[in-house]
Amino acid sequence: MTLDISPIFFYALATIAIAFSLLVVFKKNPVSSAFSLVLVFFAFAGIYALLGAHLIAALQIIVYTGAIMVLFVFVIMLLNADVPDFDYARTPLWIKATAIAGGVTLVGMFAWVFKGANFIANPSAVYTEEMITKSGGNTQVVSELLFSEYLLPFELTSVLLLAAIIGAVAIAKRKKGKAN
């Protein structure tokens, strides 16, 4: 089966994402890595929008590029850690060789599995294109599910966020009675 998405846009966004994620790994300056990562997130948001997941695309831009990356850039700024550093040059050669060989093998295995897979839609699946359009679009369908079937996980997420806030403050707080 094929997906009814524009191949030109998909391949352009995929090329951007792969190129800039390689830059994330191989740029020596953490600030350059962070800004490459922002572009990767934008490309991913475009691919989500192509796939019809509009709410996820918006959340990707708001949460990832808007919140997480700003947090990263702030920490880089706070720590003054933006000194260029070829830190991967100090990694032993055999680790680099193993990582790259393992990575290529892993991609090959994924390709083999996915290429041979036979995707059969669940017969009870009701979320076809027409149904989603008829019931008000992707955002409406996802929101209705979120506040009915997934209400308990949604509420538990708020507890998780509270725990994360308290944890982050407790970890990053300066200890009493210590200079610096």
Binding site: V25, L51, I56, F72, R90, L145
Partner: protein, 101 residues
Amino acid sequence: MQVEPWIILIFASIIFVIGLVGIVVRRNLLVILMCIELMLNAVNLTFVVFSKTLQNMEGQMSVFFIITVAAAESAIGLGLVIAMFRTLRSVSTEDIQLLKE
């Protein structure tokens, strides 16, 4: 030229493996956290592709919760990086060897 689901899935696995190689190769903790975000994004894309292919909304719901967990995870991770920088004056994994001595 058509886009089939397995092409997007292979693209997602390429991004995942780039993140994995980055975690193994890099020594800067901030860049390692960024590579974790890359891997989480690749997994999210896999969820969305399966959600679209199998005409099922559960995949997109999972992405919603993964994004929340990723935000919490990066906040805690960066807090740990700040705590580590305060004690060791460095963000390199080479300097985390306090248990070795």
